[in-house]
């Protein structure tokens, strides 16, 4: 099944693409994308099902850390390639539309 690339999905991909090797957890992703965590979670799950993203539970003792373990997400190698293409594709039509508008403005 092909990924439906909504604005929210693109925001998540952009956040993950900033440093493809870096792992982000739910709260960091929310802060970077401006999405509420409840909105980001289904997107991450879909990306994971598609193989674009991989996730793991943080290996810590919650009592020692005095906080629950985090779930970390990062792009897979294949996911990084596909995400870059998807984000680039999403930007292209807007640029083309602006050039068209500028052309029309210039011709008038």
């Amino acid at each position: 099944m092909a990924m439906r690339l909504t604005v929210q999905v693109l925001l998540v991909l952009q956040a993950l693409l900033r440093d493809p090797g870096r792992e982000l957890y739910g709260l960091e992703l929310s802060e970077e994308t401006g999405l509420l965590p409840g909105t980001a979670y289904p997107i991450l799950l879909r990306l994971e099902h598609e193989g674009w993203v991989t996730s793991r539970w943080e290996d810590v003792d919650p009592r020692e850390q005095k906080r629950p373990a985090r779930r970390y997400y990062r792009l897979t190698a294949d996911g990084a390639v596909q995400a870059s293409a998807a984000v680039a594709n999403a930007r292209r039509p807007r640029g083309a539309a602006l050039r068209t508008l500028a052309g029309e403005g210039g011709a008038a």
Binding site: Y25, G38, Y41
Partner: protein, 172 residues
């Protein structure tokens, strides 16, 4: 999000829960006293029950968690905040997050919403939600809980569909 109105939140919540329970009871009564089990009746009842669960889950965090406070006022222990519970409370981390109105009730709602999903996925969803909520600034938690609960029915649908497709896909 429920619209702002002069009606107190607890009255709204009581009304929603009363409506949900009444319609659910009416559905069961109709099914039992009506013609012998027919598929449309069963489907209608299933729809009513699912809708009612949705209403209760939605109503719970949308208000101020008055049921939790009411229980505390009557001197009985609050289950999700006290020792010996599950999740964060069992790990002794519940108190660290501090009490935020609506969030304690929201945790109950998260637990209820997790039941809508396949077991393992529901557990993972709830664990991650609790982990994020724990580290989140107190002022944001209410909105975050609501966002989790709003996305839960759709997520449950997605997870069950995926699971059924995988199961039937394998057999085919």
């Amino acid at each position: 999000m429920l619209p702002e109105s002069p009606v107190p939140a607890r009255h709204k919540k009581a009304g929603l829960i009363f409506g949900a329970v009444t319609s659910c009871g009416f559905g069961v009564f109709s099914l039992l006293t009506g013609p012998p089990t027919r598929l449309p009746a069963i489907l209608a009842l299933a729809f009513v029950v699912i809708a009612d669960v949705g209403i209760v889950i939605y109503a719970w965090p949308a208000t101020d968690g008055f049921l939790v406070r009411a229980r505390r006022q009557h001197g009985r222990p609050v289950r999700n905040g006290g020792p010996g519970g599950r999740g964060l409370s069992a790990r002794g981390l519940d108190g660290e997050a501090g009490h935020v109105p609506g969030v304690a009730a929201g945790r109950l709602a998260l637990r209820a919403a997790a039941w809508l999903m396949p077991r393992a996925a529901g557990r993972r969803w709830r664990a991650e939600a609790e982990s994020v909520l724990f580290e989140m600034p107190a002022g944001w938690r209410g909105r975050a809980v609501r966002s989790y609960l709003r996305s839960a029915p759709r997520l449950a649908m997605m997870l069950w569909t995926r699971r059924l497709m995988r199961r039937f896909g394998r057999r085919a």
